[in-house]
Subunit: 150 residues, 2 copies
DNA sequence: TTTCATGTAATTATATTTGTTACGTGATGA
DNA sequence: TCATCACGTAACAAATATAATTACATGAAA
């Protein structure tokens, strides 16, 4: 693992979920898709649940399913729900009173804010349905998992 | 410490250097400005030296100075010389053969590339001279350091 | 009431970044 | 010449951040 990869993990799993005919999938299944741990999935998807992007049910036969149609879920919403900056400028939090530092931060903040806005607008135009279409003609294996190489 | 803060550290130090009337400053002095270690400075500035943004001389009376006028040094050049992405998308390098993963990466790469381009263009328009102007009327203490609170 | 699956806290592991120590090289000046 | 200064780097240690794991409580279904 390296950087914060929650967004791509979430997208990956969500797209797989979109193929599941609204059948609930367990965090264990989802973890297999993302090659990670079930707890990591539950943790990552907690934010998505709060945002209504997914819903989860406990107990026997429980699991996770999409909260609304794939066409109504944008990448921007997902990113938001994850609480991820995606564009993170590492500023050196050094001397709060230094005028030089303030000028540096102001300039960088401004430039980064614009880039971040552009990215957000771009992500807002892409839905899960769009991505699903890009994946190409996917089968709908009733419940079986294609062992991760779909 | 947190994220990769080399860019803001470099900018901070470079601006201080711009006030030094082309007098060489030692890495120890620079480290004091950035509240870090001289070796960290020498390491960080190695890339800037290769890019001609700064020059260093060894031996007695040696040190670092700007390689060209502040108006000829853009933030984009500095970022480049540091070899820093600044916008890093943490993609989960999982299953290379997974069509879902490929679709996800393609979509994100495209969006991120545009944001990165915008940021680069923005940074290319800002020079050290611009930032120095933003700092406001700065004194020119012959050789003395203002103990970091300029 | 047994089993399944989520919800979370706590802990451990791993990777990245930064800080430190050590020593070599070149340049200056007494 | 030689002592000193300052860079150039490798090697190592420390701090941080992220992810993985363990453990257990809660709720739902069979």
């Amino acid at each position: 693992m390296k950087r914060d990869s929650r967004l791509s993990v979430a997208l990956h799993v969500l797209l797989h979920m979109a193929q599941q005919d609204d059948q609930p999938v367990t965090s264990e299944q989802m973890a297999a898709w993302a090659m990670t741990n079930p707890v990591v999935i539950r943790r990552t998807f907690a934010g998505l649940r709060e945002a209504g992007i997914v819903a989860s049910t406990k107990g026997h036969g429980g699991g996770w399913r999409l909260g609304r149609a794939t066409a109504a879920i944008s990448l921007a919403q997902i990113q938001d729900a994850l609480g991820e900056p995606l564009i993170a400028l590492g500023k050196a939090e050094e001397s709060p009173g230094c005028a030089v530092e303030q000028a540096v931060n102001a300039a960088l903040d401004d430039a980064v804010a614009q880039a971040r806005d552009l990215l957000n607008r771009k992500l807002a135009t892409i839905t899960l349905a769009d991505l699903a279409a890009d994946v190409g003609p996917m089968r709908h294996p009733s419940t079986e998992d294609q062992d991760h190489v779909v």
